[in-house]
């Protein structure tokens, strides 16, 4: 379908228009190339961020602990936690995410927060972690981190910020990040779902509970002792177990439908290819 204009007021219009099919093909080729590049970039970003989180952050914490041995644990640990999130946010900013990514992340954050409010009658029985995990699984580790950290932050905007904010942000962000690394969105078999639930139980007790309880230990002790850690962890365990069981339950029930829905939206709009 070659077509011509009656008037050709500028050069862009003056170029002969390629046939429609050809244009579609060219566009598809371009898209394929972009997709490949994007994939490569994503891989690099993933590696960089994995190195950051798995090597850089623990070593900063270690140095901090050794260096400030007899000084103020509390402030130092809090600063470390806050600083360790900066690279993630920085990379997210740097890459200028698209409107649809932003909207999806904002929706997931709001769902997590609204979910926390919706189950107000059951203390600690919240879908937050489950939603963050599913986000990480479906939208990738970076989106998982951002969603987790922002969910904690926004929910504290409604329930009150405190010294616990950076810790919760970091913990939830880490959960979302790891789930993005460990799982892809093909949770098709029962075994995979079981693994995801086991992961959910592990991270809520082992990561979220641990990190948030550590905050409590640091807040009150100058000489941190093992007994103290044990006592705090032990006292926090019931709460963490409730949270973990909620996470497992919500993961069991929500994973499949939510992944389907996210998949539908992703397909519809080619977000997060």
């Amino acid at each position: 379908m070659q077509k011509e204009f009656a008037e050709k007021p500028n050069t862009a219009a003056a170029r002969p228009e390629p046939a429609a099919d050809e244009r579609v093909l060219a566009a598809e080729r371009l898209r394929a190339r972009q997709a490949a590049e994007e994939k490569k970039r994503r891989l690099i970003r993933r590696i960089v961020s994995a190195v950051l989180i798995l090597v850089f952050v623990p070593s900063v914490i270690l140095v901090g602990l050794l260096e400030w041995h007899d000084r103020q644990f509390y402030i130092v640990s809090m600063l470390i936690i806050a600083l360790s999130m900066v690279p993630f946010f920085f990379m997210f900013e740097k890459r200028r995410p698209r409107a649809r990514e932003l909207t999806l992340i904002a929706v997931m954050v709001a769902l997590g927060v609204a979910g926390r409010a919706a189950f107000y009658m059951l203390p600690h029985f919240k879908p937050i972690a489950a939603i963050v995990i599913i986000t990480g699984v479906s939208l990738g580790s970076e989106a998982g981190f951002i969603t987790g950290a922002l969910t904690a932050f926004v929910s504290n905007m409604f329930f009150g910020q405190g010294p616990w904010t950076p810790w919760q942000m970091f913990a939830l962000g880490l959960i979302g990040f790891l789930s993005g690394i460990l799982f892809n969105d093909q949770i098709t078999t029962k075994l995979k779902l079981f693994l995801l639930c086991a992961y959910g139980a592990f991270v809520t007790v082992g990561i979220y509970g641990q990190i948030v309880d550590t905050q409590v230990v640091f807040s009150s002790a100058q000489n941190v002792t093992w007994e103290m850690f044990l006592a705090v962890y032990a006292s926090g365990l019931p709460v963490n177990l409730v949270f973990a069981s909620a996470t497992v339950l919500f993961l069991l029930l929500l994973t499949k439908p939510l992944l389907n829905k996210l998949g539908r939206i992703k397909k519809k709009h080619g977000v997060f290819r």
Partner: protein
């Protein structure tokens, strides 16, 4: 030179066998106000989106869309953003940020405008739209009309040359819609912005539009002045439903001598026309017969009841008072309402009059703190939820999409059948009754508004409730679907179902209601047949009644006006 020029544009969605747009040719000059009308699914929205590549759908395109002489695809995102503004249908989700000021500034933030310019432009727009008072408000506190106004302002702040609006008032009540149209008119006349708008409510736009484009099946049926378009549409009974009342009356009743007169669009012109035609007819009859005794305006309440009240009402609500919290204001103040089997009862009234609350109370979803609601003579709160909802009473709230929790229409209906242990064949019966066969497997989010409404009502009908409550069911329907919908409601009432419909659409209520209840300030102030209630009102009534006021009292629909004029 034309600002927008569309040349032989054909567009097909991927995997579709039919073109969504076919050989479209259209030219719009700078400063024009163009209304694009046509039934749902005729390609209006697709066409508008082609004018803004950032929003165009994927698919195969041929032909050209020129903006200011350049192909629109060649515009970079910056020019596209600042020169072509686009307002969509749903005000709720168009707003991205949490505060009014932030939403207003959004476009300028994207363009990277410097701080002082941003301030000035935002302030200008806030002034122009009268937004200063709620400038710092959270978006969640705004009314629907305010939200849509905000969407418009947040586009206008970039000072576009072309403003495109895709059914912007379909979610608004008539007063908010009228406000919105006024603002559009001001934008067009005071700022000279070119406007292209699709809309179902043409009554308010025909007087403003310079050009009307009527589309059908992906092509342009007609493009020209409102009068010329109306002339054409009036010839086809299938299409004339879209016309403003005054025009309908004109085309159905005009005599040879009036053929050259411009068609009346507004109520004012309609009245002038009516006066002339009556004079002419009277003169022709050579008999100065004064206007026959019209039924005297309704004396509200008393005489309304008697119409065909032989049996007892299904639901009777007596002197009901309701408020949401102990210390809040009363929403219902002694409201009484009776609902009869086999009747369509329409509830009209302004925003905040308590219509929805009344329906929620009458259906047993809310419990009044004074007064009582009887269902078949038994207090409604004596029924358990299981006995009441679904089996006796079905309630459809505004925005039917919210009543879907499953991924397909079939699953949705099956869930109800399964929960109540009904026979599987019920599904086919309902699908047949509501004409759902084509969309049973579809995801509720993939079907059109009209289909969604049908599917949502189907879900309610599975258990054969005796009373249906429909809140704002005609919202967003085009004139053609309204005719179908009215027929559907009649079919249901003929089977003995009582239907209570809340609507802002007085024209629809006048046409189809058996009984009409007008709400104001928490109570019913007038009740009766549409004729009784509406012919007494001067302002809150149908366009037809306003045209006929003083000359043909008692005619409340265009059909009645036409009939009475032609009888003379």
């Amino acid at each position: 030179m034309a600002l927008v020029e569309i040349k032989d544009l054909t567009f097909t969605y991927p995997e579709a066998d039919k073109a969504a747009l076919l050989n479209i040719d259209l030219s719009v000059s700078e400063g024009e106000f163009v209304l694009i009308a046509g039934p749902s699914g005729c390609g209006k929205s697709t066409l508008l989106r082609m004018l803004k590549p950032a929003l165009s759908s994927f698919g195969s395109v041929s032909g050209a869309v020129l903006f200011g002489g350049e192909p629109v695809e060649a515009l970079d995102l910056r020019r596209q953003t600042s020169e072509i503004g686009f307002v969509m249908q749903d005000p709720e989700m168009q707003i991205a940020t949490d505060k009014v000021w932030h939403e207003l500034a959004f476009g300028l933030e994207s363009l990277g405008v410097d701080q002082s310019t941003m301030r000035v432009r935002v302030a200008e727009m806030a002034n122009f739209f009268g937004i200063q008072k709620w400038f710092h408000s959270p978006v969640s506190e705004l009314s629907g009309g305010q939200k849509q106004l905000l969407c418009l302002a947040s586009v206008m702040v970039m000072q576009p040359r072309l403003l495109i609006l895709d059914e912007p008032t379909s979610q608004l009540d008539p007063i908010a819609a009228a406000d919105f149209f006024d603002t559009l008119k001001r934008i067009n006349s005071e700022l000279g912005t070119t406007v292209m708008i699709t809309e179902h409510r043409v009554e308010g736009l025909f007087p403003i539009a310079d050009k009307v484009v009527f589309m059908r099946n992906g092509g342009i049926l007609h493009s020209g002045t409102p009068e010329s378009c109306a002339e054409l549409l009036s010839r086809d009974p299938a299409l004339s439903a879209v016309l403003p009342t005054a025009m309908t009356v004109y085309y159905e009743t005009r005599t040879e001598s009036m053929k050259d007169l411009p068609a009346p669009i507004t109520v004012r012109d309609g009245r002038a026309y009516l006066k002339r035609i009556l004079e002419e007819k009277t003169a022709a009859a050579k008999k100065a017969l004064p206007q026959a005794a019209a039924p005297s305006p309704a004396r509200p309440r008393e005489k309304a009841q008697k119409s065909k009240r032989s049996e007892k009402p299904v639901i009777s609500m007596r002197d009901v008072w309701f408020r949401y919290e102990r210390n809040s204001d009363d929403i219902l103040k002694g409201a009484s309402l009776e609902i009869n089997a086999g009747e369509l009862t329409c509830i009209i009234g302004g925003n905040g009059a308590g219509k929805t609350t009344a329906v929620m109370t009458a259906s047993g979803m809310l419990k009044p703190y004074r007064g009582r609601v009887l269902l078949d003579g038994k207090p409604i709160d004596k029924y358990s939820d299981g006995e009441l909802f679904g089996r006796r009473v079905g309630v459809l709230l505004q925005n039917p999409i919210l009543s879907f929790v499953h991924d397909s229409v079939r699953e949705e209906l099956e869930a109800v059948i399964k929960k109540n242990k009904l026979d599987k064949s019920r599904l086919d019966e309902i699908a047949e009754l509501m004409e759902l066969s084509g969309i049973l497997e579809s995801n509720p989010y993939d079907i059109s508004g009209g289909e969604l409404q049908r599917a949502a009502i189907a879900k309610l009908l599975v258990l054969e409730p005796r009373i249906l409550f429909l809140d704002e069911a005609t919202k967003g329907m085009d004139a053609f679907f309204k005719v179908k919908f009215g027929a559907l409601l009649r079919k249901l009432t003929a089977q003995g179902t009582a239907i209570v419909l809340i609507s802002h659409d007085i024209e629809f209520c006048a046409e189809y209601a058996d009984r009409l209840a007008m709400f104001f300030d928490g109570g019913i102030i007038a009740e009766g047949t549409p004729k009784e209630v509406l012919s007494g009102n001067n302002f809150y009534t149908t366009v037809a009644a306003r045209i006929g006021r003083g000359m043909m009292d008692g005619a409340v629909t265009a059909g009645e006006l036409i009939e009475r004029i032609n009888r003379k």
